[in-house]
């Protein structure tokens, strides 16, 4: 890829992400629905597992990332729902924007939404589960790497399911097995961040980063044919 194409991809991505964020600013769907949902999941976990804090505290890394995973599903569905109504996706296709740029913009939009959700969840588990991380740097690095991977894979599978009538039920079954390695990696990395042993945590964090890079590459290549058919 030459320098100019890369620059146009990035500027296209910025356009798409900016549009999605503007939509969010006006509709407040993340703020009013996604955040309450994520916090609700935290409360439901407490109901399911026992209000005993020690159980919740031990399970915090896994529960945190499960809550993120469920919220991501909603974020992906929302990100592509705004494109599929009234044939907007046709407009997107013929807009002349680079498909790789659209992919990057969509992924960036989802990622930003997720980072907000994760920040709220982090406060949630600290307050409600009594779990406070000792390796804050690892927590931040893991969140960024995992979010990039979740968003990149989410954009790929989101556009795949976007045009279908069964998209809401198909997306989870397609996307969740794919991001299972992310759940494993992020949970393990958080586990070491919460238990003060950061050694293996950084290795897992590296794996998350590699996943994000791989899925960004897949998105660059696969988004165009998938967008054409969605």
């Amino acid at each position: 890829m030459t320098n100019t194409t890369l620059r146009s991809v990035i500027s296209d991505a910025r356009l798409v992400a900016g549009k999605d964020l503007r939509l969010e600013w006006r509709s407040r769907v993340t703020l009013n629905q996604l955040l309450p949902f994520a916090l609700l999941v935290l409360v439901l976990f407490a109901f399911a597992l026992d209000p005993d804090r020690s159980v919740l505290k031990d399970a915090t890394p896994g529960l945190f990332w499960l809550a993120v995973l469920f919220s991501t599903l909603l974020a992906i569905q929302r990100a592509f729902a705004v494109e599929t109504v009234d044939g907007i996706i046709d407009a997107l296709r013929i807009s002349g924007l680079d498909p790789a740029g659209i992919f990057l913009g969509k992924a960036a939009g989802i990622a930003l939404h997720l980072l907000v959700v994760e920040a709220a969840l982090l406060v949630g588990v600290t307050v409600m589960y009594g779990a406070s991380p000792s390796g804050l740097l690892l927590v931040v690095a893991t969140s960024i790497a995992a979010t990039a991977g979740l968003a990149a894979a989410g954009a790929v599978y989101g556009v795949l399911a976007a045009g279908l009538r069964v998209r809401d039920t198909l997306l989870p079954i397609l996307w969740l097995p794919v991001v299972a390695p992310l759940l494993i990696g992020a949970t393990q990395a958080f586990g070491s961040a919460y238990e003060k042993s950061s050694g293996a945590g950084w290795r897992w964090c590296g794996l998350l980063g590699a996943f994000a890079v791989l899925y960004t590459a897949i998105g660059f290549v696969a988004f165009e044919p998938l967008l054409e058919e969605s």
Binding site: L160, L170, P177, V178, A180, I184, I218, E229
Partner: protein
């Protein structure tokens, strides 16, 4: 059988008008039937139970003669799907799409067999039907992933869209297989030190023969199932295309009739 006229007589590899079998697939099927009988005798009767060492599996080693071959067949099937998907994206001919779709379905059958035999082995070896063994876990995830592939195929109505989307998914899914495998492997290795279920590396004689025989048999069985499933898929595609053409022709006729009224 009775209805075949000389004009449509089934040739060596041509399809019989009544089904998906051909002369070739019948010969292969007959050979397979005999081979399976021989395999069962070798695996269940002739080969000795695993007897040496502290972690000897005894008669339980026999399930490995089925478990390992069907696992290899399921990975082969998904590899064929990935290859056919790549070829479809390159050539855009429906034959490759049919091959990819057929191979996933046959692969899922082998995946179920892998999970079932692994679980049965686990029940006697570990005392539980399910253990979070890295290989079993990643196979289970792979199973769900390819069920998703089939779900996508059912969900897309337009044949061209379906083929293209499925091809992209078939390729990405195959990239996922090693990622899932290694991450699960790594995850489990942090918790348990010894890998359970590893085949004895000093396996030899009739046991080794039974295992290799099983592998060849599983791959031939895959090929035989594929012959039938591919032909069925091909016919389905033709029927679908014909149905679409007929519907189009009918609508056109209606339009012409409407125009005539006006």
């Amino acid at each position: 059988m009775t209805s075949s006229t000389p004009g449509q007589r089934a040739g060596r590899f041509d399809m019989h008008p009544d089904g998906t079998a051909s002369h070739g697939s019948r010969v292969l099927g007959s050979i397979l039937l005999i081979a399976v009988a021989i395999f069962l005798i070798v695996a269940l009767v002739a080969s000795p139970p695993d007897g040496a060492g502290a972690d000897a599996m005894g008669d339980m080693v026999r399930i490995m003669y089925v478990h390992v071959p069907v696992a290899i067949a399921c990975y082969t099937a998904f590899m064929v799907t990935a290859f056919a998907s790549a070829m479809y994206l390159w050539k855009r001919t429906e034959g490759w799409d049919c091959l990819a779709a057929a191979s996933v379905e046959v692969g899922i059958v082998f995946t179920v067999l892998t999970l079932a035999t692994g679980s049965i082995w686990g029940h006697t070896a570990w005392g539980t039907w399910w253990e979070w063994d890295p290989r079993l876990t990643s196979t289970a995830l792979m199973f769900v992933m390819y069920l998703g592939y089939l779900a996508l195929r059912r969900a897309v109505v337009d044949p061209q869209s379906r083929a293209k989307q499925a091809a992209v998914l078939g390729l990405i899914s195959f990239i996922n297989v090693p990622i899932v495998h290694y991450s699960v492997d790594w995850w489990r290795s942090l918790h348990q030190t010894a890998t359970i279920g590893r085949l004895d590396p000093t396996i030899d004689g009739l046991k080794l023969f039974a295992l290799l025989f099983g592998m060849v048999l599983a791959l031939l069985l895959y090929a035989w199932l594929m012959l039938h499933r591919f032909r069925l898929q091909w016919v389905e595609t033709q029927v679908e295309a014909k149905g679409l053409d007929t519907a189009l022709a009918e609508r056109r006729a209606e339009a012409v009739a409407d125009g005539g009224v006006r």
